[in-house]
Amino acid sequence: MARMKFLCDAERCIECNACVTACKNEHEVPWGINRRRVVTLSDGKPGERSISVACMHCSDAPCMAVCPVDCFYQTPDGVVLHNKDLCIGCGYCFFACPFGAPQYPQAGNFGSRGKMDKCTFCAGGPDADHSAEEFKKYGRNRMAEGKLPICAEMCSTKALLAGDGNIVSNIYRERVVGRGFGSGAWGWGRAYPGSVSN
């Protein structure tokens, strides 16, 4: 079985935010919620680098471990999904997630957060594949159509890679070799501990 992974090549990411809008466009994510975001480090200075980040679908996902209602589950592909019917919007997954992936409709007064929303690796949720319910809650289910996440597919410089971990790391390794100098892939070791990587 494939193990799905994201990898962002910071040497290539140019903060064009295509991944962000592609995701919003695909899943009709409301204003204020960003399943994916791009972070620029050392903005405007030598050494500036950008990294696109979303749920990394960790191997041993912290969100899964802390959820008080146990609403997360991991598919055989290694994609971490959650059940919005169970979610109570407590925010614990946000406390635990290393990557700030969980999003809430509104972090307001009196603990009102709404149901958590996060990147699904374009794999929908527990509702029936391609059902209207599924679309409404989780967005499109591209995985069920045999497609990879839209953010990576539309990345302007092919910086963001998604898919089977072996293939992704091969592509990245080739690039690093081609460049002659390399960098650690951001977040990789954190999200997929123990897995083969660069």
Binding site: I88, G89, G108, S112
Partner: protein, 214 residues
């Protein structure tokens, strides 16, 4: 038909009908008692007295205010909180529009809702605590009072627990208590919500005719 559909559908309408008919029956019963014949020619207006009696009683008297300020604050806190909740909570307005009235009005924001609920809860709890811890209150309270308090409390509590509006079960439980509460209402002291105008007014009118100022 799901449980929720029953409690917010037919059962609700039945309960509401009982509530309405019962309340009207109670009010008619009170009105039918009429008022005592005047033994002397009235010196003032009974109508003015009726209104004045109602208005005057909204203000606590100094002599009581000092001794029972907790009670008074709790009373106002509970009643204002409850009415804010009942009339201006967004889900309630939606319910009224969709099931009863067909129109809506501006709602409280969620935080306003919660603050109103907190006032109502604080007031209700204090009032009930007083009911069993004050010897006089304990003595004059009967089951009707306790059931009324508890039913109201449960309606409020279940409503607030359903605040996330994501689980129909919670909503159904809330609606169930609402239905019970509606049925219980006209035949209990809860009816004071409708009859206190009459009683205060009656006293006020009596005084008015006697020429007393309140």
């Amino acid at each position: 038909m799901s449980f929720l559909q029953i409690v917010e559908g037919p059962l609700f309408y039945i309960a509401a009908a009982i509530f309405l008919i019962g309340a009207i029956w109670r009010v008619i019963g009170i009105i039918k008692i009429g008022h005592k014949r005047d033994l002397a020619p009235p010196k003032g207006s009974g109508k003015v007295g009726f209104v004045a009696g109602n208005l005057r009683h909204f203000l606590p008297r100094k002599i009581f205010a000092k001794r029972t300020w907790v009670h008074i604050i709790a009373g106002y806190s509970f009643h204002f909180g409850l009415f804010a909740l009942l009339l201006f909570a967004a889900p309630h307005i939606d319910f009224a529009r969709d099931r009863i009235l067909g129109f809506d009005w501006p709602a409280l924001p969620r935080w306003g809702f919660i603050i109103a609920a907190q006032f109502a809860f604080a007031g209700l709890i204090m009032l009930w605590v007083r009911r069993f811890s004050d010897p006089v209150m304990r003595l004059i309270s009967d089951w009707d009072d306790h059931i009324g308090s508890w039913l109201t409390f449960l309606v409020m509590l279940t409503g607030c627990l359903a605040l996330q509006e994501s689980h129909n079960a919670l909503k159904a439980i809330h609606m169930l208590f609402v239905d019970v509460w509606l049925i219980y209402f006209p035949f209990s002291r809860l009816m004071h919500a409708g009859t206190f105008f009459l009683s205060r007014g009656y006293t006020g009118a009596t005084y008015g005719r006697k020429g007393m100022t309140l």
